[in-house]
């Protein structure tokens, strides 16, 4: 297998090298990729959408349809992880362990029994390691600032690098950091499984809903200048605001997908204490 793989790799590489000889020179301003379509986007982005970051205006306005289906792909990937691991693999174990927080006593219960309704018991797994105080406190201090930065990245994507994808990933990473520094159950108390599963399609629906709203107001799908009559601004500012709405939808969908995939992989679908 290794020799066949090496032969295939060398042949493919030789073809690519042969093709690369014909490429335009490195960083050529007159290369075909930079001459036909992209000058239009660069020259008209400010006039059409008043968004200084060309990548954002291109992502959410000129190529909005593409981005909508990319968001759908991300949602589908989260759903596939859920179906593969949670539905077919996640079964409750027969015995459960509870730890009394104040005394540290562990209680083991057979199936069907229940603990007295009290705040002092926490559910633990077979392997329980005490969480480290310094890591716990440090992460608890850092998480609000990470989330604030993520919201800044989403909202300020118009005039600096950033946008829905990056901000959504950072928001998801803050919850993942909580799950790593404490355990998965603590993170699930903050962000329940049901909330994640509902918010993920809601993010896609915000994106598609913005497009449909434009359609209902009499213009094309995802043509944000139709929002001018709703928002009481001129059509160019309406496009800028439409991009922000779409970015928020993307941010929610990406954030929840990251959390969803992490929850399923780190606990193999059982939603116990995780890493």
């Amino acid at each position: 297998m290794k020799i066949i793989g090496l032969i295939i790799t060398i042949i493919t590489g030789a073809f690519l090298v042969y093709a690369a000889v014909d490429f335009p020179a490195w960083a050529d301003p007159n290369s075909p990729a930079s001459t036909y379509l992209s000058p239009y986007f660069i020259e008209n982005s400010m006039k059409d959408t008043s968004v200084p970051n060309f990548v954002t205006s291109l992502l959410a306005d000129y190529r909005g349809f593409d981005t909508m289906f990319e968001t759908t792909v991300i949602f589908t990937a989260g759903l596939v992880c859920f179906i593969l691991l949670r539905i077919s693999g996640g079964k409750e174990p027969e015995t459960r362990h509870y730890r009394h927080v104040l005394t540290g006593v562990t209680v083991t219960l057979k199936e069907g029994r229940k603990i007295p309704a009290s705040e002092d018991f926490e559910r633990i797994d077979d392997l329980w390691t005490p969480p480290d105080l310094i890591i716990k406190t440090g992460c608890r201090l850092m998480i609000p600032f990470i989330q604030l930065f993520a919201l800044y990245v989403i909202a300020h994507g118009h005039s600096s690098p950033g946008g829905g994808f990056q901000g959504g990933v950072i928001l998801g990473a803050s919850i993942i950091l909580l799950a790593i520094s404490h355990d998965l159950r603590t993170a699930l108390e903050r962000m329940r499984e049901k909330v994640v599963a509902i918010l993920c399609p809601v993010g896609v629906a915000i994106y598609a809903g913005t497009g449909t709203l434009c359609l209902l107001l009499g213009l094309n799908f995802l043509d944000y200048s139709a929002l001018a009559s709703v928002l009481h601004v001129d059509p160019i500012s309406a496009r800028s605001h439409g991009i922000l709405m779409v970015e928020i939808g993307v941010g929610i969908a990406v954030m929840t997908t990251m959390i969803w995939i992490y929850n399923n992989i780190s606990s193999a679908g059982k939603y116990n204490q995780g890493l």
Partner: protein
């Protein structure tokens, strides 16, 4: 764009890519893959693709390393090659 920095980072990218495939421990492979992603992010910020570099720094070096570590934690670290 200085071609010296560019060439140095490109060499390091190839080294980390080969290293993450050669190392006989899956956790080591996951960490080296994170280093590979971060060097890739540096390369893109040199090329001026700030948005792509930002995405790779948060996605490639951050979240996907965590996914790899989580998957290795749930399976095994053992590998034959």
């Amino acid at each position: 764009m200085f071609w010296q920095i560019d060439l140095a980072i490109l060499t390091l990218v190839v080294v980390t890519a080969v290293g993450s495939l050669m190392v006989k421990d899956l956790l080591g492979a996951a960490i080296l893959f994170g280093a590979y992603s971060f060097l890739m992010c540096l390369l893109w910020s040199i090329m001026g693709a700030v948005d792509v570099a930002f995405t790779e720094a948060s996605v490639g070096a951050g979240v996907s390393s965590v996914f790899f570590v989580a998957a290795v934690f749930r399976t095994s670290r053992r590998t034959k090659d």
